[in-house]
């Protein structure tokens, strides 16, 4: 029997101008149906370049479900390039229980401000579609909200379990905007 491995939540520093630039480039090649441009943007090899050349519209590939066998490597390439251009791994939790603690630990949930900021950080709906993976936990906070959350967690530190202490420290030590993701 194979054991289920729970993913570990990571924090990435976000280069927002780069993400915007990448998003604009992607949008432009899809809108103009520039298949070669799309292949270049995603750094595709010959086989996948040929694949995105097929079909009535380039955008159709990304309207497919991510579980679609033909589209899956294109989604993976998209995330890989977006990550390379705009995200830098800053920290990965050692504890699979971190997300559960963030979502359910009483001390955090009782504080509406803290809970709201955590919920934003773990809300995939707030991320661009090309960084979202089905079943993954992800989200982001801008610099001010990240600092706010780190500041709110500081006085709670003595009462937090170790995975939350490590998370609070990592959040504090980051610079700028932050993306949380467990399958990037």
């Amino acid at each position: 029997m194979s054991a289920h491995v729970r993913p570990l939540l990571s924090l990435y520093t976000l280069n927002r101008p780069e993400l915007k630039a990448f998003s604009s480039e992607l949008r432009a090649v899809l809108t103009s149906d520039d298949r070669e441009g799309l292949a270049r943007t995603l750094g595709l090899g010959a086989e996948l370049s040929a694949r995105v050349g097929k079909g009535p519209r380039a955008v159709d590939w990304f309207l497919r479900a991510e579980t679609d066998a033909e589209a899956a490597p294109l989604f993976a390439s998209l995330r890989r390039v977006a990550k390379k251009r705009a995200l830098a791994l800053a920290w990965t939790s050692a504890e699979p229980s971190l997300e559960g603690r963030l979502r359910a630990f009483d001390l955090l949930r009782e504080d509406a401000r803290v809970a709201g900021l955590i919920d934003k950080l773990l809300d995939a709906e707030r991320l661009p579609w090309f960084l979202v993976r089905p079943g993954a936990t992800s989200g982001w906070l801008d610099s001010a909200k990240r600092e706010d959350l780190a500041g709110q967690l500081r006085p709670l530190r003595p009462s937090l379990p170790k995975e939350l202490v490590a998370f609070a420290d990592a959040l504090r030590d980051l610079d700028g905007d932050v993306v949380a993701h467990d399958m990037l």
Partner: protein, 230 residues
């Protein structure tokens, strides 16, 4: 514009807002078309007579079978004084040259045409970019959300416009985009999203009914109602 739209915009993924306000309602909190209307002030709904068992679908089927008189009879029977039924009843009267009925329904049609929903349904039903343009402009002026405008553009008969609409939809509302791709475009490998399906159904039913009825006639009616309302 919903909170999630704004968060994505903050990441440069559409629109011009760079605010991220936590007190905004979620995008699905209000049904499309609900914006800008004070539903509390509306009179109580007039229920159709019990046991008629008829629907807009029956009226459209009668029209498609060439029986316009029967279609009008059904629409008159099921009309509740507002909504799609009233709109199509008035359009059928306009088509038949029944001015008395048209005049009696114009105020209700004008009310229905408030906001952005009907304008976008009409634009989507018309398909032709030139014919759809004024309705798109009205919807934009009525502050239609970006996803709704993108959806209407995706319904264009012009391939470049349709493609641009689909791309905008993907960036504005990927769940709805994939639902539309699966249902309207039969994109291979696309699947409907359970969360987006109610919104899809609410908007698409009106658009498709208007298209089946004849969008040009409904457009004439709406133009007249809005002209009279001003």
């Amino acid at each position: 514009m919903g909170f999630f739209d704004k968060a994505r915009q903050y990441l440069g993924l559409g629109g011009s807002s760079d605010e991220d306000e936590a007190d905004d309602p979620a995008p699905n909190a209000a049904a499309p078309g609900a914006r800008g209307r004070d539903r509390k002030d509306r009179p109580p709904l007039v229920e159709p007579p019990a046991g008629t068992g008829q629907s807009v679908e029956d009226a459209l089927a009668a029209r498609e079978a060439g029986d316009h008189a029967e279609a009008r009879k059904i629409l008159a029977t099921i009309d509740r004084g507002k909504g799609l039924r009233t709109l199509l009843r008035a359009a059928a009267a306009l088509e038949a040259g029944d001015e008395d009925v048209v005049k009696s329904l114009l105020a209700a049609v004008a009310e229905e045409a408030e906001g952005w929903k009907l304008s976008l349904q009409l634009a989507g039903a018309l398909g032709d970019p030139a014919l759809a343009a004024p309705y798109l402009a009205r919807a934009v002026a009525a502050k239609a959300p970006a996803w709704a405008i993108a959806w209407a553009r995706a319904g264009s008969s012009d391939e470049a416009e349709r493609r641009a609409g689909l791309v905008d939809l993907l960036f504005e509302d990927p769940r709805l985009a994939r639902t539309i791709a699966a249902r309207d475009f039969n994109v291979v490998g696309a699947v409907t999203d359970a969360d987006a399906t109610p919104r899809y159904a609410a908007f698409a039913h009106g658009r498709d009914s208007i298209r089946r009825f004849g969008a040009a006639t409904v457009g004439r009616l709406v133009d007249r109602a809005q002209g009279g309302a001003r």
